[in-house]
């Protein structure tokens, strides 16, 4: 009755595909607060000044998310641990039967007592952002002196407690030349490293973060030459990780959703079109299936896929409707970073084919 040993297509992927096709969200990302103890200049958060959900309201939201049948609940921010009741909220996620993932900058987990409290929550995974291989780079990006040391200590603390940690690095102009050193640091810490080449505008459309975007020449080489080495032999992706099949560009409004600190239900973390407020509906399922916003977004993801299929490099795009909308005003407009990405990835796959043919000869 467990399908682990069943031959044939990956049974996990089969179920994920079913959920995707039926728009049954397995994931919910909750931005608990916009408060943060870092000052990253590339941060996309745009607090509106509205009142964030109270802890009691977050508990109501969690109950609705769990009743909706979400499996994976991610707590993020801002910095999620800056919420005064983070641990009570995270414990409630677990009590309600959801798997817990935490996104953190690690600063507070540098304290062994905090790390122990995290471990006690039995999280599925903690993802920690690291911005450089040395304090000068990391601290320059977080604009908090000493943050590098605290983050590394956090990873070591969680390692000692047996918590699964994944490291993430948003690639910027300041750290683009030390990615291999960052990778080596992750290896020394015994953890998987994920690099993210997409720096987005702020959620309110302000373009300031783009000033820190890695330069185009670097990005071409990253996608075309370095990606595999930096990701333990994985080939560069040719579609969004949240797209389960080829019918839609991504899982926005389908595979999961995001709650912002005010309780707004968003189709995903990138495409920030409020579909309603979790506190104003009895059942999330009603909002999910009836919202005109979500239905439009699902259609847009299908149209985006069809549009990309017409593009010469269409099979090599990692395209984000949210970035497109935020950067150009049009969720279907192909933005420059996606163009560069697709072109370089195509070149990489073509070179691989040539290499294989040469090897076979």
């Amino acid at each position: 009755m467990s399908e682990n040993a069943t031959p044939g297509p990956n049974p996990y992927q089969r179920l994920v595909n079913t959920a995707f096709a039926k728009s049954l969200p397995l994931n919910c990302q909750i931005e608990l607060t916009y408060r943060c103890n870092h000052l990253c200049s590339f941060c996309y958060n745009s607090p509106t000044g509205a009142r964030e959900m109270s802890t009691e309201q977050v508990f109501v939201a969690l109950r609705r998310v769990a009743d909706f049948g979400v499996l994976y609940c991610t707590l993020t921010g801002g910095e999620a641990l800056c919420h005064k009741d983070f641990f009570a909220i995270a414990a409630e996620v677990r009590r309600l039967g959801m798997a817990l993932r935490v996104y953190s900058n690690g600063y507070l987990i540098g304290d062994p007592k905090v790390a122990q409290r995290i471990a006690d929550l039995d999280p599925m995974e903690v993802e920690i952002s690291i911005h450089g291989a040395k304090p000068e780079t990391h601290d320059a990006l977080t604009r908090i002196r000493g943050s590098f040391e605290r983050t590394v200590r956090a990873i070591e603390n969680l390692n000692e407690l047996g918590v699964k940690v994944v490291l993430k690095c948003p690639i910027t102009r300041l750290n683009q030349n030390e990615l291999f050193e960052i990778k080596a640091l992750a290896k020394r810490l015994g953890r998987r490293m994920i690099f993210d080449a997409v720096i987005t505008p702020k959620d309110d459309g302000t373009l300031d973060p783009l000033a820190l975007r890695a330069d185009d020449e670097f990005l071409e080489r990253y996608w075309g030459e370095w990606y595999e080495t930096l990701h333990d032999g994985l080939l560069p992706p040719r579609s969004n990780h949240c797209a389960s099949d080829s019918s839609a560009n991504c899982g926005t409004g389908r595979a999961g959703f995001t709650l912002d600190p005010y309780g707004n239900v968003l189709p995903c973390v990138a495409l920030r079109r409020p579909a309603g407020n979790v506190l104003e509906v009895e059942r999330l399922a009603d909002l999910w299936h009836q919202s005109p916003v979500l239905n439009e977004v699902r259609d847009l993801a299908v149209v985006a896929r069809q549009k990309l299929d017409q593009h010469p490099n269409g099979q090599f795009f990692v395209f984000c409707l949210g970035v497109a909308e935020n950067q150009t005003g049009d969720p279907l407009a192909v933005y420059p970073q996606a163009e560069i990405n697709a072109k370089a990835v195509r070149r990489h796959y073509e070179l691989l084919q040539i290499g294989r043919k040469s090897g076979a000869a």
Binding site: E3, L15, A19, K22, R94, D122
Partner: protein, 100 residues
């Protein structure tokens, strides 16, 4: 396991049935996700601390095309698999109340 004993899944696991096609179980301690077929998923759903083996077999015979004998054999094998994977609440057996 005594005949009337109520069985409970490990509350530290996270479980979600997916349509009628099966279910996913996350085991955080092992960093594993188990995939269950439709019958396994239904059983795991019923392991909420309010059903005994016999009660679950009655439901399975009612809902699936299976004899009680065959269901019983499959159920016992499945319980052994779950126990090995630490997916049962061994300490909580017969405890009051259910789990979500």
């Amino acid at each position: 396991m005594s005949p009337g004993e109520k069985i409970r899944r490990n509350p530290s696991t996270a479980f979600r049935p997916v349509a009628d096609e099966g279910g996913l179980v996350v085991i955080p301690k092992r960093s594993e996700v188990k995939v269950l077929n439709p019958v396994g998923s239904r059983i795991y759903e019923l392991l909420d601390g309010t059903h005994s083996r016999e009660e679950i077999l009655t439901i399975l015979v009612d809902e699936f095309d299976v004899t009680r004998e065959a269901a019983g054999a499959d159920f016992d094998g499945f319980m052994a698999d779950l126990r090995e994977a630490e997916m049962l609440d061994e300490a909580g057996m017969n405890a009051e109340g259910g789990a979500r």
